[in-house]
Amino acid sequence: MRRLNEITCVFRIQLAGMRSEAGPFLLAAVVFPSAMYLFAGAVGGAGAAGDETRLRFLAGSIVFSLSLTSISWLGYLMLENRFTGRLKLFATLPLSPSSYVFGFLGFALAQGALSTAALLTLGRLAGVPARASLAPLALVVVLTILCLCGLGAVVAARARSFTEGSLMTDALGAGLVFLAPVYYGPEAMPAWLGAVSRFLPTAFAASAVRTALAGGHEVYGEALALALTATATLALALRLLKWRED
């Protein structure tokens, strides 16, 4: 019960901060990924290529949105807490680092739910023929957020300066989408990159979101890969995030 209260408080502190940042959030979570959908369609010829490509672009934009909000945005907030001295307020409280991280995860999940719903609605308005299987989609979205938040938290805990950390989270947030077969297939990449990038979490996420948007349920392999990556990144983040210095 105490732990739940701690997590809720950390969540509410972040949520209260969102009041004045709703605009930038919409920009990062909805407007920018929507623009990427249009851009990919214009460059890739979505109209001509048909429904499957449009589904790929919508799935790509959902993953892009999750990446921007989970790695770039959440990572930025964690860096801000660390380098502006706010983290000291938590570190000197009888609060475990895991409550702090889980509070952030709750906030990221709320953001992810909001942005995914918004992008699905926009996709529908744009005529994307999505017949989303909600349970697999929700599972994949949650696992993707956990996995990417773990990466953001690792960067935030390891960065030597705010500038270094924010550059890293920005580069990771966008790089993990554009270097993975998210908007385009691995065949469009150099062979070595295609071979490597198919193991990136964003590649598993995009594949699973595509399957779920098409009404499929066979996302178990990708879900397992995402769950394993999430476990590894979050465990590393918790290990690196120490209240006490040596």
């Binding site: 105490r2 706010r86 000197t92």
Partner: protein, 316 residues
């Protein structure tokens, strides 16, 4: 804060308890680069007393306090908070303290009410208690008028008071305040002094670091002076004054250099001081009993004007 701890300190009044609220024994901190920031510090703080930690910049005051607050792991030595080993059980120890870190930031987008209430909840207070505690702390620190304002819109001094307020939430039996009044205007500083005094009256133990000797003199039951990582003096202001062999100060201007800096000389007795004034035919001078400031400058080997420059350099 636990109920047991709260009940344990209620009604004791200042310096009412025998068992130390905070006990540090042989505390050493060596950083990876070999710097020895603390070298075997032994210090107790009793319930109901205020202990001020003085020392020049880089002396090891903050390192010492950060080991007390469990932010920093000691290289050697023990820290106990009401008998709880703060090194082995940091969460339990932290439930007994309220902390104002030296360089902590605030959440600018929260209102004062939200900031205080949410942190009171994080300290384990129930919703209604958190609300009451937040209101009480805001009243004590003259923040009621800013209750609904975003913390980001407050002045630097008001933000510092919010940070002090976070430490006071839930009336913890030990307060650890690292330079709580740095950057505050005189009125705000006085408000914080009053709050610290009332906390001690209620039985809380308070340890604070400060650059203001006046603050230490006014607030403290005992004063600790840390120099180059060592505790070089610890006692009541009277005890520390008693350590001065020459406890009368003559401050004067050199008749041959009337535009120069004022000078000070110390003497064992008032009569000896008078004799010096007459022998030197000083016309512009004061003779006074030595103060805590004189003790500090004697112990640290700084001259008053160097100390003033140091304070100015760190924005004090």
């Amino acid at each position: 804060m636990t109920r047991t701890a709260t009940q344990a300190i209620e009604g004791r009044g200042r310096r009412g308890a025998d068992a130390p609220a905070l006990s540090a024994r042989g505390l050493c901190k060596r950083y990876a680069d070999g710097t020895e920031a603390n070298r075997g510090i032994d210090l107790d703080v009793l319930a109901g007393e205020v202990v001020s930690v003085l020392g020049p910049n880089g002396a090891g005051k903050t390192t010492f306090l950060r080991q007390v607050t469990t932010e920093l792991r000691p290289t050697e030595g023990r820290v106990e908070v009401f008998g709880v080993d703060a090194v082995a059980a940091p969460l339990r120890a932290k439930r007994l303290m309220g902390v104002t870190p030296q360089e902590a930031g605030v959440f600018e987008r929260l209102t004062v009410r939200e900031h205080l209430e949410l942190f009171a909840r994080l300290k384990g207070l129930a919703k209604a208690d958190a609300r009451a505690a937040a209101r009480e702390v805001a009243d004590e620190l003259c923040l009621t008028g800013e209750w609904g304002r975003r913390v980001g819109s407050l002045s630097g001094g008001q933000r510092r008071r919010v940070l002090v307020g976070l430490a006071l939430l839930g009336r913890p039996p030990l307060l650890v305040l690292d330079e709580p009044t740095t950057g505050l205007d005189p009125a705000s500083r006085r408000a914080v002094w009053d709050v610290i005094g009332r906390a001690a009256e209620r039985g809380a133990a308070v340890i604070l670091s400060t650059h203001y000797i006046e603050e230490a003199e006014r607030l403290s039951d005992r004063v600790a002076v840390i120099l180059a990582g060592r505790l070089v003096a610890f006692g009541t202001p009277e005890e520390l004054l008693g350590r001065l062999e020459r406890s009368y100060r003559v401050s004067y201007r050199d008749p041959l250099d009337p535009e120069g800096e004022p000078r000070s000389l110390y003497f064992k007795s008032f009569a000896e001081a008078r004799r010096h004034v007459e022998a030197e035919r000083l016309s512009e001078y004061t003779v006074a009993r030595a103060s805590l400031e004189d003790v500090y400058f004697t112990l640290t080997g700084l001259r008053a004007e160097e100390g003033a420059r140091e304070e100015a350099a760190c924005g004090v």
